[in-house]
Symmetry: D2
Subunit: 312 residues, 4 copies
């Protein structure tokens, strides 16, 4: 896929407007995540989309400037940092296969003796956080994450929403169970509450669609994108997003959309169009699998209309 | 990805020779599948590779003219035929998600009340066979399959190896268990032995690497390839190959190679490079997950050297 | 527990009448098993009960002379015969633990590599049937079973209902799946259909409550009962009935009733009061776990009123 | 089973000596539990046994006066207290079925949405602790437990070993995972660390065989035993011990020994002979299932020689 022609860029611009308009009439949106109290009161009638092209061109529509909690989308950045820290050693502590189960399932941890199935299920991301945290304080690790994301997005205003982190810390018992199980299995180098504290803070990263789309550009291989990690690693992270990024809906998403992606329970969705673009979509109401209902629809419309599948 | 330049084609030609040479020195190859008696006596020291470009150009090296049992690779053709027969209705009988378990695991069938996780695990392919078989005799269904594959490969000599089918029928108790469970769940329209008879015959499809590479061209979208199924369906089958084609090693394969693929216990591997090429690799000795040991290595060497990942 | 005094015997006699009367007013009975066509048309408004004391005294009430299909209750006789045949060797092919799952679950077979959890789940009873069948024809094995049951019940008229066996054979796909899986695991010495044919015939054993209560007396240790198996084995079979006889409702039954028991989908229930009595209860409508709804109630009333728990 | 005659009592006395002598020559004992640091340094070459008859008579042999950590055996007392507190309401928060899995497995919690399979697996005992703790402080709850156990044993010196509690609190990550999961499921009324603190303290109850055998007498129905809970509840707790007391070895224990029992990772074993006796056995080295290797042997010898099975 080459970069976009002027005609394609104009088509894309109209398409974003069409998507916003078309989805504004959707009535079945699902419900906003309520297990993190701070997220439960978000207005579900919001929808934003932004596309950052390889050359930095930015297109947007809808509520693309509204900040939201990226939640699990951060796992992509943390994985990149963990690989930067210890390279292939990481794969002794985390697998690379889809789990066939929910993102917060604890069953695979018991079956696989404390090795999470992949870095995008919660247990896996707790391990990558544990890796990045290694030998430093939480504050330091979060600074490093912010530094990475700000460089990727070329935007120094991106920050953590501490109230969301606090909110999740007070109710995140399921993640506590995962972290304690990892620790019991010898696969957590810090006390569970230490790693979880960092984990909850990184999940509380706040961005709007424009910022997220720009930040995602480090996953496009192009001479024009920020060269934060080697191309080989870019490909591999994209591969993991394709097979594991949407948890137990990854197969269906690959089937419908055909692009690497990562979702978060804040309703955000990051899509990578290799060589071409990084796309951020946000709509807070979720379907039963915990993915943004309108986000998935928008992704399918966008990929279909632009012919953006990696599969031909 | 555009078609190959002359220089790239020459590079590819040399690379195939290098792969053959390099792998001929591999000593750890695993073991030939022994649960189908007819396959147990294949010489493990064989290795062939063939690449069919979109324009029909053919490159090959090693034992690329040796015929082998394609086994599960047929599932790709049968899926295409099942979708042609009943379209999206198929997805009421089969899922589209990786299972997180072995290719012949029966556990997901009980958990999901008789709905196989995807069309590439054995249970799923028994269902697609049941769909294609619908309303006709086994002989007729096999004729249809052969007709499809022969058209795809533009080679009318491709055939079933009846002795392999008979061999598997006499020992295929695990597949009998899957078919009986499907029938008990109301997800098999024929008696188990009827569908299994067809299933074992299709698995016994015999091809050499050249034939398989040519047959795989229907999964490349190009004006020059046989247009057997619509482009949208090509993309979707490729997506399923990416997330489910190598069973519980699909995530690792996407990570290492980054191309849609389907493996078979005969030691064959079909790889699709969207827009560019269809690749067949064969080496009969298998690793613990039931994939060809040298086949995986060759696929990784090929994709890395040619820069053929779909992920950038 | 000593044998019953005259007063206790009179109390028991009145109690059986009271139970019949009381349960005749129950409206929530569940549904008759419908997966075996021949059983689907049984009148659910039937209830019978019979008590055979150690000394042979027989008390009965309700439809105690109506013949019914004992189904899984036969597993007790087959286990006794299998132990007689190969003794403790049996425990290399079958476990002795409750499964924590449904009676026809196939999940434990895959987890435990073809070793059924216990001889009372279907897979386990298919193995005990396979043991008893060893080296003979189905007809011979069924003769042996009938001979055993007739001697136990001292009633030569007890027989198999061939139409029920045929009915189950034509629809028993779930049991076919279990048998095929066992065979695939090397834990079935005959072809699946051969062992299943014997299995379906033994399940089709027909008895009325009086016959079943009398047949159960071989599980009471007493100088007055038929001495068909050694006392140590009697205790062990009773132990297995206590922990596994009612499948995933065994814990609840031990809690409520406190006696070894075995249920069947025909609506029958065999209860052993060690040293004292063998009890048969029958009512065809089943609860969600596949046990007779009124049978369980009657067992609880009987045990509570007579003080018949083994637990004090 | 009546109380013991003089001859039987003499036989029992000699038998205890024989058991001690016979087992002192056993070389395959397994290993002492090492996941609680304080328990890891116990001398494995110890063995004690004590029998408390219904009338209070006490027989003992070996290291029967050595104090040990009763660990999971306390679950029996806590269950009695929880039932005393909220009666049958308890069964809305805990099941009554064997799990078919390890005592600390977290898999059933996810499958059953936070309802532990029974009160004797760790998750279940964390819930019964949570019930008893309700509305009071940990200190108060532990006082209540000690008061209950001291009354049962008629021994006011029984106490908690605080160093064991502290030791487990510092390493009990697996139990933290269970408690956090319960809390996430809404089945824990206190913060995980609050309930766990009480749980670890109760597990750290220290007794010698004589004390434990005497304490167990509240589970014998007899006019001569301390009447701490109603007879009906005694039977029910015994039933749960039979089906769930030895976790995934309960079926085998019922088969071999035929008596209700509860084991602990400290190497203790409490056996109830309904109407007749309470037996405590202790030997710290454990088998693969976490039960005392010599404890199981001693229990089998004792039950077999005395004819103490509940099954006849």
């Amino acid at each position: 896929m080459p970069t976009l022609s002027n005609a394609e860029q104009q088509k894309l611009e109209r398409l974003l407007q069409d998507i916003v308009k078309s989805l504004s009439q959707e009535t079945e949106r699902g419900a906003v995540a309520d297990y993190i109290p701070e997220l439960a009161c978000i207005d579900p009638n919001q929808f934003g989309i932004a596309v950052a092209l390889a050359d930095g061109t930015l297109l947007q529509a809808g509520d693309s400037q509204e900040s939201f909690s990226v939640q699990s989308i951060t796992k992509v950045f943390t994985l990149a940092m963990a690989l930067d820290r210890i390279g292939a050693e990481l794969w002794q502590r985390v697998g690379r296969e889809p789990s066939g189960l929910n993102f917060n399932s604890i069953i695979p941890l018991e079956i696989d003796k404390g090795i999470p199935r992949n870095p995008f299920v919660n247990a896996g991301a707790i391990v990558t956080t544990d890796v990045v945290l290694s030998g430093c304080q939480r504050g330091h690790m979060i600074e490093e994450l912010l530094s990475f994301v700000r460089r990727a997005a070329e935007d120094s205003t991106i920050d953590i929403d501490a109230s969301v982190a606090a909110s999740e810390a007070s109710t995140g018992y399921r993640n506590q169970a995962l972290a304690s199980f990892l620790r019991a299995s010898g696969n957590l180098h810090h006390e569970p509450q230490v790693t979880l504290d960092a984990y909850f803070h990184q999940c509380a990263l706040a961005m709007n669609c424009v910022q997220l789309a720009r930040a995602g550009r480090f996953l496009i291989i192009s001479p024009e994108t920020p060269n934060l990690i080697p191309p080989r690693r870019v490909r591999r992270i994209n591969a993991l997003m394709m097979t594991c990024g949407l948890y137990d809906a990854a197969g269906d998403f690959a089937f419908r959309v055909g692009l690497p992606a990562k979702s978060g329970v804040g309703g955000g969705l990051l899509l990578i169009v290799p060589h071409v673009a990084s796309v951020a979509i946000w709509s807070p109401a979720l379907n039963a699998q915990g993915n943004s209902t309108l986000g998935l629809k928008a992704a399918e419309m966008l990929a279909t209309e632009m012919g953006w599948s990696v599969f031909g």
